[in-house]
């Protein structure tokens, strides 16, 4: 067992002194990931019901997902239709939340500490308020404007939640950016807008891309606002899943979840790749 006496840090800490920490960390990582992964084997089950571990294997639940019909009697369109709604809303959310969040971040980073201190908490308040309150508020608000069950309403709702994340990501990128460069560009003859697009934007582009992916994910994974303000043909996949779970426990949910996990973790991975690049 001599390897236990190996040094594991710059100081004189040996492996056996640190072992508990490594085991603890692995356990934490395990607990973080496993609940999401449990659905994957369940999705390949041949059984009628959600079971773990599955006794037989089949792809029938994937078939049920990809080739579902709309007469499911559950108050939403078919699974694929709901998936497309989710994707459409998520993509539109990118185009609303990212520009607004970026502009807000730019404004904040160019304002005095006092103004920033007042505006920043207001701008990130959708993150601080329980999301169900936001959802209820949105519902009553949208009723006034006949926007319940509309794509527009959903996109606005999701953008509300995604915008603070964009703001935080872009703000931190701008914190490491030397605003003097924009001043230089302006002194050299660029208008402020042009200076932003030609000098600032190329240098924070990876953060902007991260912000886009995070906006997409925020909308795609969102369920509470969707429950309140989407419905019928404009149900999102998360809403459809939630309703389906309430009525019947069906391994289709596991198959959908598996697909969603792949999409989400793929995007998250992309975010990490872009986030790692130095802006």
């Amino acid at each position: 067992m001599s390897f236990l006496n190996r040094n594991v840090s710059e100081t004189q800490i040996r492996l056996k002194d640190r072992l508990w920490l490594y085991i603890f960390s692995i356990l934490v990582l395990f607990l973080l990931i496993v609940p999401s992964l449990v659905v994957i084997p369940m999705s390949f089950s041949g059984s009628q019901y959600l079971e773990f571990p599955p006794k037989s294997f089949s792809l029938r639940w994937y078939e049920a997902y990809f080739f579902s019909s709309s007469d499911n009697g559950m108050g939403f369109n078919d699974w694929m239709g709901a998936t497309w709604t989710s994707i459409k809303v998520a993509v539109l959310t990118i185009f609303v939340a990212t520009p607004i969040g970026t502009m807000a971040a730019y404004g904040l980073s160019n304002s005095s500490a006092r103004v920033r201190g007042i505006l920043f908490p207001i701008m990130i308040s959708p993150m601080a308020v329980p999301i169900i309150l936001v959802a209820i508020g949105l519902f009553y608000f949208f009723v006034q404007f006949k926007m319940v069950n509309s794509i527009t309403g959903l996109v606005l709702g999701h953008s509300l939640v995604a915008m603070p994340l964009v703001l935080i990501i872009v703000l931190s990128a701008l914190r490491n950016y030397d605003m003097n460069q924009e001043k230089v560009a302006r002194s050299l003859g660029a208008s402020r807008l042009r200076a932003f697009f030609e000098i600032t934007l190329p240098q924070i582009k990876f953060s902007i891309i991260s912000a886009c992916l995070i906006s997409f994910l925020t909308s795609f994974d969102e369920v509470i606002i969707s429950l309140f303000v989407s419905g019928g043909d404009n149900s999102t996949i998360t809403r459809a899943m939630f309703l389906a779970l309430r009525d019947q426990i069906d391994p289709t949910i596991a198959a959908i979840s598996t697909v969603l996990i792949i999409i989400s973790s793929g995007l998250l991975l992309l975010t990490q790749l872009f986030g790692d690049k130095k802006d």
Binding site: N180, Q181, S187, G189, A190, R192, A195, Q203
Partner: protein, 358 residues
């Protein structure tokens, strides 16, 4: 001095931040083709004034004219001025060539025109052949040159520089000071240069505007500013000096109990400061004419390379409790005995070098 560069007229420019006056009624004429330095300590308002010229700061009131054109409300990108910032602020996503070519691109120049002017600018700043380098591969001095090339590539008539050399080490800084001055002389530009380094200002400028507390304290050639500072702040800020409290009573000047001679004796009664430049003092033998003699004890004698610094405590009976600094060149005074600590000594200051400030 070329005469076809734009002159700058600054009139009554005031800028406040709350109760704080960053600039207070500053009026200043920068002549065409002149190299003018705004000199002052940090927080004095010199950079604010430069930003007013660049268009980044709008004064509360006052006028700024380039030639005959009022520019106070003109946005920075339409002012057509070259500007070099303190931290270079090169664009890291562009290489050297693209950095320098950027202002030309903004001016809608053709590719060949851009290329030509970039090559010319690179050769002016002695960076020929480095056009394809990335910005991160450059040394501090090279970055400075690129920033400079970028600011002059479109041949602006006005060049503004905000402490451009402050990040360089001393030796490189002194080389660049001379090079910048030569560059100014060879191009047709009116240059406004901001620094807190009095030696840099003395080295480079045609004229120096000393700024403190948002006000223009003195404007003049380096020689005038150095030999004739008009107040204690400038005497202290520019060059080394000992400032000793002196009194004027009916046209006679007293330092402690002793009467001294001064170069411009027409001062009203009151309290003043006698300005003594350490290098103007000399070891006296008592026979000099028109010379103030100060006797005292050497408190410290410090070797500083090119000179020996002496701290002399004056004879309290005659001059009161005060000390002054004296600098003896270490060059050709072979055979001259260097005073040592504790030694009694008598030093002289010519009447023409003795002056009072308020």
């Amino acid at each position: 001095m070329q005469s076809n560069a734009l002159n700058i007229s600054i009139n009554d420019v005031t800028k406040t931040y709350g109760d704080f006056y960053a600039l207070k009624d500053v009026s200043l004429e920068v002549k065409s083709g002149e190299f003018l330095t705004l000199l002052g300590p940090s927080g004095s308002g010199k950079t604010t004034l430069l930003m007013v010229l660049a268009g980044f700061t709008r004064p509360d009131y006052g006028s700024v004219k380039f030639g005959n054109e009022e520019v106070v409300t003109k946005p920075p990108h339409l002012r057509d001025i070259g500007m070099v910032f303190q931290n270079y602020a090169l664009f890291p996503h562009m290489n050297v060539e693209q950095n320098i070519g950027y202002p030309q691109k903004l001016r809608g120049k053709s590719k060949s025109e851009v290329k030509e002017s970039v090559a010319e600018a690179l050769s002016i700043v002695k960076l020929d052949g480095l056009g394809h380098r990335g910005v991160a591969e450059l040394s501090g001095g090279q970055k400075q040159r690129v920033a400079l090339a970028r600011a002059i590539v479109f041949k602006p008539q006005i060049l503004l520089m905000d402490e451009p050399l402050s990040a360089l080490d001393k030796k490189l800084r002194e080389e660049m000071q001379i090079e910048l001055r030569q560059l100014h002389d060879s191009l047709t530009m009116t240059t406004v240069y901001v620094t807190h380094d009095q030696k840099e200002a003395l080295t480079m400028s045609d004229r120096i505007a000393v700024i403190n507390d948002g006000e223009l304290k003195q404007l003049g050639s380096p020689n005038e500013i150095y030999t004739n500072p008009n107040n204690a702040f400038i005497a202290d800020f520019i060059g080394e000096s000992s400032l000793l409290p002196a009194k004027v009573i009916s046209n006679k000047t007293y330092l402690g109990a002793s009467e001294i001679m001064i170069s411009h004796p027409s001062k009203d009664d009151g309290d003043y400061l006698l300005v003594i430049r350490p290098e103007k003092l000399f070891l006296a033998n008592g026979k000099e004419k028109d010379t103030n003699l100060f006797s005292g004890i050497v408190e410290g004698s410090i070797f500083q390379g090119e000179s020996q610094l002496l701290v002399i405590k004056l004879d309290p009976g005659s001059f009161g409790e005060q000390s002054l600094r004296m600098r003896l060149p270490n060059g050709s005074n072979i055979g001259q005995k260097v005073p040592i600590s504790g030694e009694k000594i008598s030093v002289g200051l010519r009447k023409s070098d003795s002056f009072l400030v308020e």
